[in-house]
Amino acid sequence: MVDPVLSVRGLKVDFGGEGRSVPVVRGVDFDVYPNEVLCIVGESGSGKSVTSLAVTGLLSETARVHGSIRLCGIDVTTADPETLRQMRGRDVGFIFQDPTTTLNPVLTVGRQITEGEVAHGRLKKSGAHARAAELLREVDIADPEGRAGQYPHQFSGGMRQRAVIAMAMAGQPKLIIADEPTTALDVTVQAQVLAVLARRQAEMGSAVILITHDLGVVAEVANRVAVMYGGRIVETAPVAEIFANPRHPYTRALLRSIPRIDTSDSRLDPIPGQPPIPGALPKGCAFQPRCAVGRDQPLCKAEDPALVAVGDQRQSACHFAGALPAEAIAAEPRILAASAAKHEPLLVVDGLRVHFPVKTGVLRRTTGWVKAVDGVSLSVNPGETVSLVGESGCGKTTTGRAIMGLVRATGGSIHFGGQSIRDLDHGTMRKARRQMQYVFQDPYASLNPVLSVEDIVAEPLRIHGLYDEMGGARRIAELFDMVGLSRTMLGRYPSEFSGGQKQRIGIARALALQPKLLILDEPVAALDVSIQAQVINLLQDLQRELGLAYLFIAHNLSVVRHVSDRVAVMYLGRIVEESSRDGLYELPVHPYTQSLLSAAPVPDPAVRDTRRRIVLEGEIPNPASPPSGCTFHPRCFRATEICSANAPSFDRYLDFATRTACHHAGPLEGRRNVFASGAMEIAS
């Protein structure tokens, strides 16, 4: 057997000092072997990032590290700073999460890529530029000679992350640590970056530790997986085993709580409660209060189980690892809202345009327009969920805000309940808005920190002068019941709540005026994986009980598939394809939709080698200077001359329910599509 590149035993990390120390990592053992990708999965606060920083001695001085870490023969915990420094430049490469901040803004990218090698004496300064260009070429950056002399702000997000990969790999390290390397990127760019990372890793035979919260990414790239919870590894196994037969209740619950892009109709099975906060861990097993198996078991309450072998190459830290029920109770099927039969549509948007002026020159004249939304048409029926999906900058949020009247529409019409609501004066708009409410993405930013949550939920009623009319304090208490919050919390302030609870408060506030339509702007994107399921279920229950219509704005294709009745895909301010949910996911006809769906990672390692993947080139163009004709043509695999000349109209595709804007619309050749249920069977 080969020796591991990295071997960690009994790693403990405490933060803080003077009496109060907070254990963030509490006894972690693992090995990483050459040419292997180990994924560490966990939610926020699980200690995964701290573990990765600890193994290279990069933690700040307030951290106290115990245990043994052997990296390429060096004992990291006892080595002197100079040895560690040498080791970092030679044996380990690091890729961090946010490419916008990991590069120094005032030094050229080329210099930053090569300065490690220069500092370690492996590269002469005179050869640095050529070397930088070579490294950038290896990560598929066009014009590497020119790019090496540019500054980070001149790079797009995906290019920056590729430059960081080039930097991490410059010294041909034996181990690469990537901490959430694609979390800040769009899905099509994520696919590019993961592809580059995988290719470079294979070329060099390095070991990789990839830290992520995204089970799709894990299934896509991992050889082996370590699941962390509450500062410990609770399960490790080869990737196929983890997904097929998890041996820890947390892993099982996590897999069942995420919406999947390839299946859609089972109700999500959320993990109750909140992830533990380091420093306030429950006694015994940290997962015990949320565990379907061990909750209230005396043994689990008393004793933190050790990580022990439960089979070939796999370990689990659970008292009942051997006795887990073979298959938990089948999840309830998703309850669909009674489809509203032949109602008048509640919201009709036609040709909506939102253009922002670009001002340049000495006199700040308007020299151009950013067409954030450029001719969007959609309708929402009562009781129905229509989703707007797209990558960042596609205009989905601006569309939502323009409908709500928060951003001025510069063209098109918006009708709500038969009445035009565009360009209304303030008073009329106010009345119209009572029927239509907005839920914001970031629950931390959307609640006024100086008001109690009771006042926050009551605020819309007070603004409209309806507080007493609608039942006053009793109404607020009812709203709290509706969103599953205890009435005892009424007098508290937003800072006392967790993210999931805050989002519930945001929903209660939106419901206060008894609206017919909620515009939900990425309502679960800021939440931990295990909390997302709780909020999604709540939204679905409320929709059924109150007959609400939702306009659901999101980038996460799995969540969208799970919640929607109809889906519209946006690209650069326009809808490129719109259809019923199953129509869109099973038979996408627009090349962008097809690429988007194929780029989304599927949390199932069994399909990763058989799935057809379209990796788009380039990134989303600047909306201030969109490409001519069809704005997607520079990245499109079907583009022909007509695409750069004429913009396609948004029309029905053949006699399908689907409408699309493409000169060459049509299903992918070969099989119908990777995510269609039929395709899944072929794949497995």
Partner: protein, 315 residues
């Protein structure tokens, strides 16, 4: 680049116009109006008539303003009432002294401020940091006029090493004499401003030290010397340049107090004399000259900053 400079200049036009209007209108707001201001409160009717004719005060207000502005643009602020000399000439005599003091004080403040900031930022919270931060607070909190008095008390009254009143000696004529005369005022101003500079630079160093790119640099195995000297310092010095520029701009017009303490013949003292003798043309001239210099330095700093920071697109 030229467009950027032009745009900045254009933004200055309304400010300059408004400010000059205010300065011109000053004289009308004085009790007794412009005539009282020029001829004095106890002027005889003949004197008033003479002043009215001499200064064209019988013309329409707008004409008077346009006339004044046109002259001001050409550098003509009229005659000093008490000094009986062209205002610009009086100012011209004082300007070199002020500039020399400004440069000396800037050097002192940088020599003290930068090392203090770096030493305390490298180990935030350490005893050295606490001592140095306390020092910056003292430097800032002690009024310059009191600090000046203390310095005079020690170095002029007790030790008799340096003069208690500083004259203007051009440094190229008599370097030693110039230094003897400049030492106390430059130290007074320099200490005060070094407190500002140290506090500012320390804050930006500390926040840069926590930046993600520092962790990246460490992960590459760069020597700490290089991380601080290249990565951090480059980022922290960018905004620092602005502050240094602002302080220099302040020295030009704002060293009034220090000049008064050391009876130093700079433009600030000229202005105080003008105010106490109610010499309005001289007051207006001083303020306009200071204003123009102050704004010019501020603008130069802005442009310089945009030029050296790669992130700012100055097109």
């Amino acid at each position: 680049m030229i467009g950027f400079v032009l745009r900045r200049l254009l933004q200055l036009v309304p400010v300059l116009l408004l400010a000059s209007t205010a300065i011109w209108a000053m004289i009308y707001a004085v009790p007794g109006g412009p005539i009282g201001a020029i001829a004095g409160d106890n002027a005889s009717p003949e004197q008033i008539a003479a002043a009215t004719a001499q200064f064209g005060l019988d013309r329409p207000v707008l004409v008077q303003y346009a006339d004044w502005l046109w002259n001001a643009i050409r550098g003509d602020f009229g005659m000093s009432i008490r000094g009986r000399a062209p205002v610009l000439e009086l100012i011209g005599q004082r300007l070199p002294a002020t500039l020399q003091l400004a440069v000396a004080a800037t050097i002192v403040s940088l020599v003290i401020g930068i090392p203090v900031a770096i030493a305390s930022a490298l180990r935030p919270g350490s005893w050295l940091d606490r001592i140095l931060s306390g020092w910056s607070a003292m430097a800032l909190g002690v009024p310059t006029f009191w600090l000046g008095i203390l310095l005079i008390l020690v170095f002029a009254v007790e030790l008799r090493w340096l003069p208690s009143a500083s004259a203007y000696v051009p440094i190229w004529k008599d370097p030693l004499g110039a230094i003897r005369n400049l030492a106390l005022p430059a130290l007074t101003l320099g200490i005060y401003v070094s407190g500002i500079l140290a506090r500012f630079l320390r804050a930006s160093l500390v926040s840069e030290l926590r930046a993600d790119y520092v962790r990246t640099a460490r992960s590459k195995g760069l020597p700490e010397r290089q991380i601080v000297g290249v990565h951090i310092l480059r980022n922290a010095l960018l905004p620092f340049i602005t502050i240094v520029g602002l302080m220099m701009a302040n020295f030009i017009g704002g060293a009034v107090v220090t000049e008064a303490v050391f009876t130093y013949p700079g433009i600030g003292r000229l202005l105080i004399q003008a105010i106490s003798t109610r010499d309005y043309p001289l007051i207006q001239g001083c303020i306009v000259v200071i204003l123009v210099l102050y704004i010019a330095i501020n603008m130069a700093v802005d442009v310089l900053y945009a030029y050296i920071d790669p992130r700012i697109d100055y097109r």
